[in-house]
């Protein structure tokens, strides 16, 4: 079969498409059929393309062969600059010089200028060939003319003589093949003093310049430290060496950098522990233990290397365990864990000296419990209040600590405790503007308006533009006006309103003043409906304006509903989204400022708005809006509305943990029709799992709290969310298999089961009795028969069936395929003698009441590593206080178990 000769068009098409090998063959075939000169240009271009292609792949020698083929196949062509550059790169400078001379003979051209650049980069650091410097043909060539100057400049700079280098650079003309070098040397010289200017100089060097590698390395050297490290990993070796030299890296740093490269990106914490341990002697005790804890935290929930376990001391174990646990455990456990840490800092009953490092550490923990972890808003409030009060004794110079407690007292409406604390603060910081502002707000909260005005003026005398004081003064005058109006002293009220007007900032303040004037007229029996309606509109109209009016009216003794009706502002319109969110903002502001009255007052004020708000639950809100509304309604205690919004949100985002929480929390605060036990908890547990998976710690905490409230079982005592971490790779021996559990249940008589139920449920059993009467088994029987309990796991159904006196589980337990019940792990017994994987054998049980390893004289943070391998974070720690649980404190809440989940971390 004969081969068909390609057409010229086909060859050109191959060339244009970058199919150089094909193009070379096609042009060669064409050259055999027709005079070669006709196709020489195309063939040369095809060879060039192929050579550059190979060079780009790092196949320099192969590329050189192609260039040689090109020279032979296309005689008479001028040497290509890229060919000569490759010759130089491969060290064949003589051949390159021959090509250069050939180009030079052809006169100035773009190709010659390009080749000069390559030769300039080459001869900048290489010796000139013998005789070249005296070659008369090259005497006037800028390559040689400026070369010696450029080399002298570089040598001077390398030797640290910047001045000499600058002088040499000035002698190099602008149109020189060394122009890019000149720019780069200037950039190098300005790099330390003015890196921005240096960076700008680098922009002048083109990407295809023969000096581009130098520019790239210099650019790398300008990176900030944190970016430099990964960038060095991507750079080639010459660039790395160049940059490391520029940045003053000693050999040890370079070697360590290579080791850190093996840690991965991001660095593997386990590998990091091993690496750090090799350089242990370079670190301070504080830093070493701090970093071990941080790496332990980063490793969680994966298994920690033995190196970490061996280095962590008792305090590290306790602190690390607590930092991990505080994210997910309920408040009372978090409190217990931190108490353990505090007890390791200073023995219970041995308070460290105020202001000492240990005292400051304890105070920091106490404030963290209150503020960062939000336990002041939990049921642990009384204990946390005591902790905060104690923190003031331990850290008496820290004003924010005082203010934290003061604001809490004020928000709680506990002015009896707030006032003496305020006096104490004022004695210590009498001139502090923030303190004076707090005193002013406390005075307003206590209806001491004259005192408030006095304090405000005291602040404004020093700082006339103090906005907080101006605002508080405005509030004080308004509050005083209300007080006078309630006393029927309208003349005095108007004087106060005049004063308030003076300090009013913005239209809203002025409308509030006008509103109170209108209400004063209303109280005097001269109602101005139009003025009040106008005020309502100026305050946002809709439910927002009406709420503001209702609040003001209620504070003066009006019934909000009748008042709004009386001035023609009913029926309340269904709000739009913005109106609803503004309504929530007002409610929240009110709740923040006036906690003490929220319950009764809000119930009265919110009553007229119930219908409109119920309709608003169907508005097209986004998830954040629903969250805001549900949270506001929770704070306001409006459970029914909260339930409406939570249900509406769940219709759009089924099973979203936060809305599940709102729904169930709202439900539990309503009068519950029917049992809320057992069959209601599954969605909450699912939500808990999902919240944990999503890393939503706040919702996780709240769901745990709710589950503890609602579960007849002690929800957390047997369930350890970190069990995977704790028991990594270990068989769980304490879980009773489901079939065994069912068999055990089957053996029991209903009376025994009833007794077990009573013990398990405790006071909650009474709730069952309220629902079912004295015949609890009968009630359960009815529920089983109706299929209401069909969602429960089969073993629970079995147990309930036994309790109800049924011989076997009901056949119609539900349409769902029964799934295995969730396996809950038992906590490991304290002082378990069994070593954990990755740890050595445990310590012998500690002597109760034995001496503590740490104390004020041996700060735990700087303490010696325990040196005792395999010590558990909690359960196996030999510290007596930890072992025995925190010492009982005055007023400890009943039910706060010191033996909350005890974990081995490593």
């Amino acid at each position: 079969m004969t081969k068909v000769a390609p057409s010229a068009a086909q060859a050109q098409a191959s060339l244009a498409a970058g199919r150089y090998r094909e193009a070379i063959e096609q042009f060669k075939t064409l050259s055999r059929a027709e005079p070669p000169e006709v196709w020489r240009e195309g063939l040369a271009a095809a060879y060039r393309g192929r050579a550059l292609e190979l060079e780009a792949k790092g196949m320099g020698k192969e590329a050189l062969t192609i260039w040689d083929n090109r020279r032979q196949a296309c005689p008479g062509l001028a040497p290509d600059p890229r060919h000569l550059a490759l010759l130089l790169r491969l060290g064949q400078s003589e051949a390159a010089l021959t090509g250069y001379r050939s180009l030079l003979a052809g006169g100035e051209s773009a190709a010659l200028a390009e080749v000069r650049g390559h030769f300039a980069a080459y001869w900048l650091t290489e010796e000139l060939p013998p005789g070249l410097a005296t070659d008369p043909a090259l005497a006037e060539d800028p390559l040689l003319r400026d070369g010696s100057t450029a080399r002298a400049a570089l040598a001077a700079w390398c030797a640290g003589d910047d001045e000499a280098a600058a002088v040499q650079l000035k002698a190099i003309p602008f149109r020189s093949p060394y122009r890019d070098f000149t720019t780069l040397l200037k950039a190098l010289m300005s790099r330390e003093k003015d890196p921005i200017a240096s960076g700008k100089l680098l922009e002048r060097v083109a990407a295809d310049s023969p000096f581009a590698p130098l520019a790239a390395a210099l650019r790398l050297s300008l990176l900030p430290d944190e970016e430099l490290l990964p960038a060095l990993g991507r750079a080639n070796q010459p660039s790395r060496d160049f940059v490391m030299s520029l940045r003053g890296w000693p050999e040890r740093r370079r070697q360590l950098w290579r080791e850190t490269q093996r840690l991965g990106d991001p660095p593997d914490p386990g590998q990091m522990v091993v690496l750090l341990r090799r350089y242990r002697q370079c670190f301070s005790e504080h830093w070493w233990h701090h970093m071990l804890r941080a790496l332990g935290f980063a490793l969680y929930p994966h298994k920690a290397p033995a190196a970490l376990s061996q280095e962590l001391n008792d305090f590290d174990h306790a602190l690390l365990g607590t930092l991990i646990d505080e994210r997910e455990f309920p408040p009372r456990d978090v409190y217990t864990f931190w108490t353990e840490v505090k007890d390791l800092i200073a023995r219970p009953g041995h308070s460290p000296a105020p202001g000492s490092p240990d005292a400051l550490r304890i105070a920091l923990i106490q404030r963290r419990l209150a503020d960062r972890l939000g336990l002041l808003q939990s049921r642990m409030r009384p204990m946390i209040e005591r902790e905060l009060a104690e923190s003031l004794e331990l850290d008496p110079d820290y004003l924010p600590g005082y203010l934290l407690l003061l604001r809490h007292y004020r928000n709680q409406g506990n002015l009896t405790l707030a006032r003496p604390l305020m006096e104490r603060i004022l004695q210590r910081w009498p001139e502090d503007a923030e303190v004076l502002n707090e005193a002013l707000e406390l005075a307003i909260a206590g209806d001491a308006f004259k005192k408030a005005a006095g304090l405000a003026k005291r602040i404004l005398d020093r700082d006339p533009i103090n906005r907080r004081a101006r605002h508080n003064l405005f509030r004080a005058h308004l509050a005083h006006a209300r007080k006078q109006m309630k006393r029927n002293r309208h003349d005095l009220a108007h004087k106060e309103l005049d004063q308030a007007d003076r300090w009013a900032e913005g239209a809203e303040h002025q409308v509030r003043v006008e509103l109170l004037r209108g209400l004063s007229q209303h109280l005097l029996g001269k109602p101005d409906r139009a003025a009040l309606q106008l005020a309502c509109n100026r305050l946002g109209g809709g439910i927002t304006g009406r709420l503001t009016l209702a609040l003001e009216a209620e504070s003066l003794g009006f019934s909000p509903h009748h008042f709004l009706q009386g001035i023609g502002l009913t029926p309340i319109p269904k709000p739009v989204r913005e109106d609803l969110l503004a309504y929530c903002r007002i409610l929240r502001t009110l709740l923040e400022q006036e906690d003490k009255v929220q319950g009764r007052r809000l119930a009265r004020v919110a009553q007229p708005f119930q219908g409109a708000l119920r309709q608003a639950a169907r508005l097209p809100l986004d998830a954040t809006d629903y969250e805001t509304v549900c949270e506001t309604l929770r704070l306001a205690g409006l459970a029914e509305l909260r339930l409406e919004f939570a249900k509406a949100a769940l219709r759009r985002w089924p099973k979203r943990p936060l809305f599940v929480l709102h729904r169930y929390e709202a439900q539990t605060t309503l009068p519950a029709p029917g049992s809320r036990f057992l069959h209601d908890l599954r969605p909450l547990e699912d939500a808990l799992t999902q919240a944990r998976a999503e890393g939503d710690q706040r919702t996780t905490h709240r769901l745990l709290e709710l589950l503890k409230d609602q579960s007849p079982f002690d929800f957390d005592s047997e369930f350890n969310p970190f069990s995977d971490f704790e028991d990594f790779g270990e068989e769980d021996e304490d879980v009773i298999p489901n079939d065994e559990l069912a068999a055990e249940i089957a053996k029991m008589d209903p009376d025994s089961l009833l007794q077990i139920f009573k013990l398990m449920l405790g006071p909650s059993f009474k709730d069952l009795e309220k629902i079912f009467g004295k015949d609890v088994p009968g009630g359960i029987r009815r529920m089983l028969a109706s299929g209401e309990l069909s969602d429960l796991p089969p073993d629970v159904i079995e147990m309930l069936s036994q309790l109800a006196g049924l011989s076997s589980p009901q056949p119609n337990v539900g349409p769902r395929t029964p799934s295995p019940p969730p396996v809950r792990r038992q906590p490991k017994p304290k002082n378990s003698a069994e070593p954990r994987p990755g740890t050595a054998s445990p310590q012998p049980p500690p002597v109760p009441g034995g001496p503590k390893a740490t104390g004020p004289s041996a700060s735990p943070v700087a303490g010696q590593p325990s040196g005792k391998p395999g010590r558990g974070a909690r359960s196996e720690t030999p510290a007596p206080a930890t072992q025995a649980g925190p010492a009982p404190r005055d007023g400890d809440e009943p039910g706060v178990s010191p033996s909350s989940p005890q974990l081995d971390l490593f």
């Binding site: 790169r89 980069a121 080459y122 900048l124 650091t125 290489e126 570089l154 040598a155 390398c158 030797a159 640290g160 790099r191 330390e192 921005i196 023969p210 590698p213 130098l214 390395a217 900030p224 430290d225 944190e226 490290l229 070796q237 010459p238 060496d241 160049f242 030299s245 520029l246 940045r247 003053g248 890296w249 000693p250 040890r252 740093r253 360590l256 950098w257 850190t260 840690l263 660095p267 990091m272 750090l276 350089y279 370079c282 301070s284 830093w287 701090h290 970093m291 804890r293 941080a294 790496l295 935290f297 980063a298 602190l319 930092l323 490092p357 400051l360 550490r361 920091l364 850290d395 943070v861």
Partner: protein, 95 residues
Amino acid sequence: MRDPYLILGIPDDASDEVVHAAYLAAIKHCPPDRDPRRFADLRQAYETLRTQRDRLAWELFDITPPRPLDLLDRVAPAGPPGRPTLAQFRALLLP
């Protein structure tokens, strides 16, 4: 955030005065208009270590694992800027 002690270039047992002096010296060389990012880092490091209380809080509650750069700076800090050799220039320009 990187190790704030390294950002400010101070020892682990630095006092309030040392922290303050190091911060002032650092921002003198690196004002916000010249390098806002570096300035922000310096400011954050200063806020983290300003008082003994702040330093203890960092030590107790911070759980940022060490970065390779922290390790390098602690074990083998960089010296003053250096000058590459002619051989390094050659290796760079003639790979």
